[in-house]
């Protein structure tokens, strides 16, 4: 695919990223926010992996008779980033559980009301 159509992959990935980003900033439910972050980050991973693809290349595991491989570096970066995303998700959800225990709600609007009252 030549011309601007050769970028279609990136455009769809951007739509995906923005879906996640929208969930984070528009939804008052705390678990939904964490889900949004997860979707946002996963879409960024897709962005990186897309950039690593080389046409007609194969997975970067050296084999006899193959001489075109996809770029291994973004794969490594994303392996690290996936772990970071897991760590964020786990911590975020732990915070949500504690917030629910002390506020009785996981809705941001309700929490604000309670904080204003105190």
């Amino acid at each position: 695919m030549q011309g601007p159509l050769g970028l279609y992959n990136y455009w769809i990935v951007i739509v995906l990223m923005m879906t996640g980003f929208y969930i984070v900033i528009a939804r008052p439910n705390l678990i939904k926010k964490i889900v949004g972050l997860f979707v946002f980050q996963t879409s960024v991973f897709i962005f990186f992996i897309t950039m690593a693809k080389v046409e007609d290349g194969t997975a970067p595991i050296i084999q006899e008779g193959v001489n075109l491989y996809s770029n291994p570096l973004p794969h490594v970066l994303i392996l690290t980033a996936i772990v970071v995303s897991l760590a964020t998700t786990a911590l975020g959800l732990a915070l949500v559980v504690r917030i629910r225990e002390s506020y009785g709600t996981i809705n941001e609007d309700d929490i604000h009301v309670q904080d204003e009252a105190s």
């Binding site: 769809i12 951007i14 770029n71 760590a87 959800l93």
Partner: protein
Amino acid sequence: MEHLINIVLLGLLMLAGFAIVRTKSLLAVAMLTSIYSLLSASLFVVLDAVDVALTEAAIGAGISTILMLAAIALTSDEEKAPRHTPLLPLFVVIATGAALIYGTLDMPRFGDPAAPAHRHVAPTYLQDTPTAIGIPNVVTSVLASYRSYDTLGEVTVIFTAGTGVLALLGFRPRRRNTEDTGRKKLVILRVVAKLFFPLILLFALYVLFHGDYGPGGGFQAGVIFATGFILYALAFGLSNSQQLIPHQLLYVMAAAGVLIYGLVGIASMLLGGKFLEYQVLANDPVTGQHVGILLIETGVAITVAAVVLIIYYGFVSRRPAPGDI
């Protein structure tokens, strides 16, 4: 053909994404998130990132979903509608998206072999790995040797998450036989779990030690290892699974993995090299690389397995909020 699969998967991802926005039931959202993650793992396979696909499937579709379900069980399932109309967020998102699309216009087209990213540093990794490191999986060689310091950081991140969950949710070992009543019906699950438990652990070891040659490595192995124990806990109850690994041991394991990694670095310093310079660990540089990579991958696997279990136990041993689910 590859383009077709690519487009179909991306389309499904969009569907899943929009469904996540629209769905109100959080349990359904958790499952959709899992599907989203699994779809992206499939996409990674199409895009040649097999290592990433394995990790995404294990972490995103597996562990993250379990954690979300556990958190929902401890909180509540319904989502209230937002109080304000989401005009400002919509504006921010559209502006950000427009900026990103503007940024794509000068990007090299998808799959272009002449893109600068494939011309500068990456070819060195592909050319040098067989001789300098002596393993075929270039992702492992970059991860565990060329950029091993990032991986040390990654282990530290996951260790931080484990410590954080411990600090937030605590970790209370259950007494025996408090929850085993009413689980008599699970005979089939238990038989299968018993059958699979050793196989999962065996598979984890395979993924760990085969990481030099195929997709896999310490991180994936650690997650799979922990999954075995989570399966056991689901089938036989929390207290029984905690009999298998005492929680003190989990602390020690979580710390030990990071320590193994760090000490490999310190050892290479003491032997006259730089931090994490594996060449000095053996007489022959390539053997040194092998030793170093194996040691640090083991360290990664130990910490990851322990931390994932700590996080899982942290969530599950918390008492559910009263009045829900």
